[in-house]
């Protein structure tokens, strides 16, 4: 047992002009994560506290929040790693709906824009599935691990300063399909990816990859998109005959 002081950002859109911090002293088990402590607050101290969560096992991507200023999944942030008061805030760079709940419409809209689904290159083989070798799978596998938790957006100063920026996860997911041997949708995605507000807004801070709980490495994906877009440009301008 340890008594943990939580300092939680509260915002009630019906009564508050702006957010404020509220302290809770919570009796916690040693092995608890921040999400357990929040659940304990909600169950025993303050049922009005709002936050998102679902799986409690780093799969659903719902419980992203700032823990002592760093974007974390609350279900993966162990209390034992945080001596002293633990400050819990909603994910940075997203508007606050209520308490720790953010408005994520911007990310969802951007994700849709990059067409993160299979656009088949060939017609599906008759009565069979698309074949793929282990090497072809490995080529993009890492980028499939994204759980849409948006920690990378909260870590990215470019996104904070330039909200139009497409952002790490959306670009990584577009790149995931571009690298898929079955997919032929790269041209359709390029308009978003190669735009100023696509990959080129990134100045390679690298924070997205550092905070990503699934080791997707969105920063890597963005740099690869930049290189491919540059090759496209040179092909189109210097060797137009190589492009159909």
């Amino acid at each position: 047992m340890r008594q943990v002081e939580l300092e939680v950002l509260r915002y009630n859109p019906e009564t508050d002009r702006e957010p404020h911090f509220q302290r809770y002293a919570v009796d916690c088990q040693e092995e608890w994560v921040v999400l357990d402590a929040l659940n304990h607050v909600k169950e025993t101290l303050d049922p009005t506290l709002s936050y998102r969560w679902s799986c409690h096992m780093a799969v659903c991507g719902s419980c992203g929040m700032m823990v002592n200023g760093e974007p974390k999944l609350a279900c993966k942030a162990f209390l034992r790693d945080y001596p002293g008061v633990i400050r819990v805030e909603p994910l940075r760079h997203f508007p606050v709906e209520r308490d720790l709940v953010t408005v994520i419409d911007d990310f969802v809209a951007k994700l849709a824009r990059v067409k993160p689904y299979l656009i088949p290159k060939d017609k599906a083989p008759e009565a069979a599935e698309f074949r793929q070798t282990p090497a072809q799978l490995k080529r993009y596998k890492q980028f499939t691990l994204c759980i849409n938790c948006m920690l990378c957006y909260a870590a990215c100063p470019e996104y904070g300063l330039i909200p139009k920026y497409l952002g790490p996860a959306a670009i990584a997911l577009a790149h995931r399909w571009n690298r898929d041997s079955r997919d032929g949708g790269r041209d359709a995605r390029q308009e978003e990816l190669a735009a100023t507000e696509g990959a080129w807004e990134c100045s390679f801070v690298g924070a997205c990859s550092e905070v990503c709980p699934e080791h997707v490495d969105p920063a890597g994906a963005i740099q690869q998109v930049k290189i491919e877009s540059t090759v496209d440009w040179y092909q189109a301008h210097l060797m137009p005959w190589t492009k159909k």
Binding site: K138, P157, G220
Partner: protein
């Protein structure tokens, strides 16, 4: 229930939120020194084109304490930028051979090796050895 999402203000506080942001800003900041050094070289070329007196004055300027401090700082910033940049190359240029990807250190190592070779070549042509 009315919706009234609150947009928290963005300040430059983020730079100090984690050491990674300071490291990033130092890398960005290095361009001031590298850019300044490049301008100095342009000035040197101009002096060279103006004849021996101008060139001698330029060389004298390079030997002042302020110039030496500036060069040491520029060297430190350029080395920091290059090292951090080459360490990032495996992210941008993954190489897949068969099923496996080449280990990161092979890719950054190749960049460091090329850097060392080019530097040695330049020093050789400059008559350093």
């Amino acid at each position: 229930m009315s919706r009234r999402p609150y947009a928290r203000p963005i300040t430059s506080e983020w730079i100090f939120r984690h050491p990674r942001y300071i490291r990033y800003m130092v890398r960005e900041f290095s361009c001031l020194f590298i850019g300044g050094w490049t301008l100095l070289m342009v000035w040197g070329f101009k002096a060279l084109s103006e004849g021996p007196a101008a060139w001698a004055a330029f060389l004298e300027l390079l030997q002042t304490p302020a110039s030496i401090v500036f060069h040491l700082l520029t060297l430190a910033f350029a080395a920091y930028h290059s090292v951090t940049w080459f360490n990032l190359t495996p992210k941008a240029l993954p190489v897949q051979l068969g099923e496996e990807f080449l280990p990161d250190r092979v890719i950054s190592g190749a960049h460091f090796a090329a850097w060392a070779a080019v530097s040695a070549g330049l020093l050789y042509f400059a008559g350093a050895f």
